[in-house]
Symmetry: C2
Subunit: 191 residues, 2 copies
């Protein structure tokens, strides 16, 4: 969808996410945001109700997508490696769709006021489901006997920070990226 066909409200959200990625929520002023959209700060309030509401909409929207996605993956009747590939693929897809929002999700969630608990719930649910997939794979013998927490940490960290990297490597096709990350994360780099 082209920017020109977005509603002004959507344009404001997208621009805000971009600025939040560059400087963080606290350092972005409503005057910065207004200038980036091409209007005055007061005019923003015809489209949004507060700076805080912009943040919580951006973050909860993405967090909900991730949680719903992993619920679907975890309940599939298939092997662990297939599930992990689906998780990797989901991260790449959602991040490519909305890299700026992913940055806000990663870096600015602690500035949520009313919706902080809701966000933390979603994040915990996601992590529990992911850890469940890993544990299943260890029990079935599909995964190595490495410390579970190290494994959960290192895969999730790589996936959560894709937003830093995907926009710079636009020439990498999505399929190559999925394939490359699956090999690197699952089979390692050592020959």
């Amino acid at each position: 969808m082209k920017l020109s066909t977005l509603s002004r409200k959507q344009e404001i959200y997208r621009t805000a996410a971009k600025l939040f990625k560059e400087k963080g929520y606290s350092a972005v002023t409503m005057r910065d945001l207004a200038a980036a959209v091409g209007i005055k700060a007061a005019s923003l309030y015809n489209h949004i109700t507060s700076k805080q509401q912009i943040l919580s909409e951006i973050i909860l929207d993405i967090a909900t997508q991730f949680t719903q996605g992993i619920d679907a993956i975890a309940s599939q009747e298939t092997d662990t490696i297939t599930k992990l590939k689906a998780v990797i693929s989901q991260h790449i897809t959602l991040t490519a769709d909305n890299p700026y929002g992913m940055a806000a999700l990663n870096n600015d969630w602690m500035h949520l006021e009313g919706k902080l608990d809701r966000y933390l719930d979603l994040r915990n649910r996601y992590e529990k489901k992911f850890r469940g997939i890993i544990l299943e794979g260890k029990e079935s013998g599909e995964l190595k006997e490495v410390n579970t927490e190290i494994l959960v940490y290192s895969i999730l960290t790589t996936l959560r920070n894709l937003y830093l990297w995907i926009p710079k490597k636009a020439e990498l096709k999505k399929d190559e990226l999925i394939e490359g990350l699956c090999v690197t994360l699952l089979q390692g780099v050592e020959r």
Copy 2:
């Protein structure tokens, strides 16, 4: 070293790093910092010259350690796997020493004013050396023929974000952590 034996200046730096980790540089006020140290905001200025100087000291100190460390590792005459293990080990050691500073390095570098270019230089030098080690390993056949950028990205991301995780897992011995991460990152998780 116990906190009580630190100079007030050092106490301020450490406290600031901790607060920066929790809320980000922009959201931490000099009043917050002063309250955490147990004095009034104005009194901070007997020990430091500005909020900005606190940030740049925290970040450049760590960035310098990392760059010097990888210079030493890269110039060793040894195989690639040994070098990569040394890089992993360095990250774990420096992060365990100063997890709050690592958070500021990762998340608040864009708020550096006078020293931003110096920081970017150090970071680029680090990344170039690291990529050099990876390329060497691919040429010598020690590493798989996976896309170099995917590999560089996924290892560096995991290492750079250890600060999120190391303090919560204090029960993990440093040696176990090094061993576990080396296996996970280098040999993968799939059996």
